[in-house]
């Protein structure tokens, strides 16, 4: 049975902050940071937005583009490292908000930045085995970087939702392969507001090792080479890492250009590869082949080999905003507003 993508939808909050503005507050060279990370602005969720609202927006955009009845959805997963609740699922609210409730299984997932793609794999399994007709996988985050930490220049917000099924596919998932080891490069303990990271340890032994191993393993299993793909998307904690890993693997800048959106919106964590893939699907033509590798700290990678089908030509793309439209819909804010929206200002309990 062919399993793949029936529909998808995305959401990116409209607020943006630029690295020089962050650098101004902390006495760092924001321009240099911007160039070093290849991030020119990052998205910031409004005070009324969180992973649940972003997931709902993305899931509703996904449903607007399909005639699938929400009642046929048998599984829904929300992958995030910034679920609003430590205990109490995000997914139940999303399921209610798209009227998929109550006859489905729902769970929240966490695996640093790859919880969204892990959800896609789980849906593939359920659909492929015939256990459910459709599954929804969402990757979304409103990640926080500690004030002044280099992470603050990149940690942003956004998410994308995928409807996985076996009929009327706009893209077939030809295969998926994961590469996982225990590598503590990035973590956040229960009750801690901000994550910690291993600094340069997050590079070579973590991101680069896992992404290249997963990419190579994926191509080996599919019997493909980089030039067999029109597009490639890699996890993008910044603009630099995916550009470098693509080069190392033999992919060209042109192949990764469309799916590389972190320079405009920052690192959306669990939303990163789902959003990058959405940007590619927004412009893809029938028979285009897409290569995708998501990375999650801790650490592991999910690789996907995808072929776009003829159905993409009559896909209702216009029923919801494209990634380009979401990127262009923006309002710049200063650090003070950012600090207020991200609750970095100590407030009095119960107000004044």
């Amino acid at each position: 049975m062919n399993v793949g993508i029936v529909s998808y939808g995305a959401y990116i909050p409209r607020f943006r902050i630029v690295p020089p503005e962050i650098g101004r507050v902390w006495g760092s060279d924001g321009e240099a940071m911007s160039k070093g990370l290849m991030i020119f602005s990052k998205s910031v969720p409004g005070p009324d937005e969180d992973v649940i609202t972003i997931s709902v927006e993305a899931a509703r955009n996904m449903m607007r583009r399909t005639s699938t009845s929400p009642k046929e959805i048998g599984a829904l997963y929300v992958g995030s490292e910034s679920h609003p609740y430590a205990v109490k699922p995000s997914g139940t609210i999303v399921a209610e908000a798209i009227e998929a409730s109550p006859h489905l299984t729902v769970a929240d997932l966490e695996f640093a930045c790859k919880a969204g793609t892990a959800g896609i794999q789980m849906c593939m399994g359920l659909v492929g085995s015939g256990m459910v007709k459709y599954g929804v996988a969402i990757g979304a985050d409103t990640s926080q970087g500690a004030p002044g930490d280099p992470l603050e220049y990149s940690a942003s917000a956004g998410g994308a939702a995928y409807l996985i099924g076996s009929q009327d596919l706009i893209a077939t998932i030809n295969g998926t392969y994961s590469y996982t080891t225990d590598t503590p490069d990035f973590w956040r303990r229960e009750g801690q507001p901000y994550p910690s990271h291993g600094g340069r340890f997050t590079g070579e032994p973590a991101y680069f090792k896992h992404v290249s191993a997963c990419a190579k393993g994926m191509m080996e299993r599919m019997g493909t080479k980089p030039e067999d793909y029109q597009y490639a998307v890699f996890h993008q904690p910044n603009g630099k890492f995916p550009t470098r890993v693509a080069k190392m693997l033999g992919f060209t800048d042109k192949q990764i250009e469309v799916g590389l959106i972190t320079p405009h919106i920052g690192n959306t964590y669990s939303g990163a590869v789902p959003l990058g893939l959405a940007a590619i699907l927004d412009v893809a033509k029938p028979n285009d082949r897409i290569f995708a590798v998501a990375y999650g700290s801790g650490a592991g990678c999910d690789g996907f080999d995808i072929t776009v089908t003829e159905n993409i030509s009559h896909f209702k793309l216009d029923a919801a905003p494209t990634i380009q439209q979401l990127i262009e819909r923006k309002k710049m804010i200063d650090y003070a507003t950012y600090a207020k929206y991200r609750r970095k200002i100590m407030m009095k309990e119960g107000g004044s």
Binding site: D48, Y85, E96, A97, K340, M347, S352
Partner: protein
């Protein structure tokens, strides 16, 4: 604890569920058991349905002084929205500048955080409106 009180209306707040009187066709929001026009004749004939979520601004204001629950959001825009189905509701406008808002402006519903019971309490989600 207001958990159950909020939960009870979640379907309405998430998905703008309204009622239409099977006798006269009048639309009411939030859902009602009795049509305010047909009274007893409407009993058992009130059909629930989902509003389109689209409408226009009937009146609006920018709130500067607000209860503690809205402290982080102020100043915020509150508006009365006349839905395309004819029924009116009160909600916040998000994702737009106050100076842009006009009576008659087209808006559509979205789901946002509308409040929470302190840092450790339940979070309430519901409709807000954004420019269409």
């Amino acid at each position: 604890m207001t958990t159950a009180r909020f939960w009870r209306d979640n379907a309405t707040r998430y998905n703008l569920m309204a009622t239409r009187c099977g006798s006269c066709g009048k639309v009411t929001f939030p859902p009602r058991h009795v049509c305010p026009i047909c009274h007893r004749r409407s009993m058992g004939k009130m059909e629930k349905f989902r509003l389109s979520g689209k409408g226009e601004v009937y009146s609006f204001t920018l709130v500067h002084e607000a209860p503690a629950a809205f402290e982080l959001q102020k100043p915020y825009i509150v508006a009365m929205i006349k839905m395309d189905e004819g029924v009116m509701m009160t909600a916040q406008l998000s994702d737009c500048e106050y100076a842009e808002v006009k009576i008659g402006m087209r808006v559509k519903a979205t789901l946002r955080k509308i409040g929470e019971e302190g840092a450790g309490g339940v979070i309430h989600y519901g409709y807000k409106f954004v420019p269409e």
